[in-house]
Symmetry: C2
Subunit: 343 residues, 2 copies
């Protein structure tokens, strides 16, 4: 197996491009793919400031690294979600990365700054944890990007993430979500521009990028996401990709090229939003969805993460009592595929 | 397990409807689903004459039976494809069914009537067999429906078929195919109305219908279809359905309800077709695609079916010679998901 570029021994194969690369040329390939995404979709211009939503995982650290390397001014934002030791370890990785490179990492902690954490919100609002988490992250990231005067909010969604979300939205033909599934959402009415510069790289490639760049990322997945539909969709697409390399990229980029515009709905959208009375963010009623969730969750007794892990959820459905008597057990409804910030 | 209707012991469960049925009420359920499809999509009106594309398999015999039971005048059409003993056995089942019920079965044989068979066409035209077969069947069925003055051509596509074709078209965002993937295509410019009254029943249900009705159908699948993409797509959707009953129907009917119209393209379509100089069918050039295929294939030496079976195709790619020196080996390109008549 030889590098496509220099014919030296390769360290990785990229089957959908029918290519193998040595370390040096694989890193160059990753940079080129990100530059190509940024330029093809007009994500970010020279001199613009970006805020990267950072979780400590491979994708968010890779894109932060790639943007800084490409010469962009990019700060990081870490949000403490209160998911037990998983969150502690996430923060360690994010901080270590920023410190080693002299980068600025903003931090917001849901419990310290908003009076709740994700496990508690899940139980208090009867949402599945991924739904409470996504809503919280979207709001905090948006707010910080606006308040900090950043030109764009960057998330680490890679090709596998985007293809899996698309897959879920297509299986149910959720046309509102389909209309908004683009690698760039322009700034509008109090929302920052949102960009996904990793859409041309797969999960495996961002992991390899980190390894080859010596980026020490958190390998474990969020314990609350185990068995969720998003992961099932990834499996289905991986099976397909295995049998037919390139099919995942064809699915996602074919959608952008030939289908997404067909789901535009000029009547929907955010044209009628007012401002949240509490935080000033765009809102459909007096309080935005985040402030409603925060208000309710911050009144509830804290719920330990172990209680909302998939296994625990399953046990509770069979009759165990919830520790938050007021809130009752979370329902087992499906998390919406609204494509919240994966970091 | 008790019947949803009468509480007697059930013989089958239909998980997507969360229902179990005894034999009597399962047969009634099948009839209701077909009636509902026919009426919801305006497929066929009282007194109209239908021609059913019959292969001898479960779907085509079930829909023929169901239409006759519902009081429609429905004749069958069997097309001999020349796929070795598989075709011989198919014909036996189709004839036995028609004879036992006193129904009229038309027969057309590709070799006798058009000078070629499917294996030969595949090699002579370098198409994958499923592509040569689909093109041949479409033409012969359309022609017979028009010439016989039938109001509609009926095919036995079931929910699994339609969902799998949709899945393939969506994975590649083949927008022209998506625009035409409807359970009814109206008659236009020399093409008959085409209807698929089984779209509300799954493969498993049409098989159960046949068993309970005492219909002796051909169980084996076409040997040339083994391993094709259509079957891979069915597997992927079956995995999903297994984990989330109802998701297959949601995918297909959600598409019809909320998406198919978005793929309409008023500029495309058949508005510019002329007539084939040889057969008079609608055509894009002097000869229609069928007559081009028939002309080329009928000049070639006959190819035995064993030669184009998936295994044999694989062997030949590694260097074996084709028996038809003029035509050369078939290429290994992907069969288009044009949703030709499955019978």
């Amino acid at each position: 197996m030889k590098c496509r570029v220099c014919r030296l021994p390769a360290v990785i194969d990229v089957r959908r491009h029918n290519a193998n690369f040595c370390a040096e040329h694989f890193l160059r390939y990753c940079r080129q793919q990100v530059e190509r995404a940024i330029s093809a979709f007009d994500m970010l211009s020279e001199g613009e400031r970006a805020l990267v939503a950072v979780s400590g995982g491979k994708d968010s650290l890779a894109i932060w690294d790639l943007l800084v390397e490409a010469g962009f001014e990019a700060d990081g934002l870490y949000v403490g979600l209160g998911i037990g030791e998983y969150s502690d370890r996430s923060a360690d990785h994010a901080r270590a990365f920023a410190e080693a490179r002299g980068l600025r990492l903003l931090e917001i902690d849901l419990r310290d700054d908003h009076g709740y954490d994700v496990p508690t919100a899940a139980v208090a609002t009867k949402r599945v944890p991924c739904s409470a988490c996504g809503l919280s992250k979207r709001h905090v990231f948006d707010r910080a990007a606006i308040d900090g005067g950043y030109d764009a909010l960057v998330t680490g969604h890679n090709l596998d993430d985007e293809a899996a979300v698309l897959y879920g939205n297509v299986l149910r033909w959720q046309t509102d979500y389909l209309a908004r599934q683009r690698p760039v959402l322009p700034a509008e009415q109090g929302f920052p521009r949102k960009i996904k510069p990793l859409v041309r790289l797969s999960e495996r490639e961002t992991a390899a990028y980190c390894v080859l760049q010596g980026i020490d990322y958190l390998v474990e997945e969020c314990p609350m996401a185990v068995g969720n539909k998003h992961l099932l969709y990834k499996d289905a697409l991986n099976d397909m990709e295995q049998k037919s390399p390139g099919s995942k990229a064809e699915f996602y980029f074919g959608f952008l090229a030939r289908a997404v515009d067909r789901f535009d709905n000029p009547d929907s959208g955010r044209s009628v939003l007012g401002a949240c009375h509490r935080c000033g963010s765009p809102a459909e009623s007096d309080l935005c969805a985040f402030c409603r969730l925060a208000e309710r969750s911050s009144r509830a007794d804290p719920v330990p993460v172990e209680f909302v892990l998939p296994k625990a959820r399953h046990r509770r459905r069979r009759g165990e009592r919830s520790p938050s008597a007021e809130a009752g057990p979370p329902t087992a409804t499906v998390s919406p595929q609204s494509n919240g910030p994966a970091t």
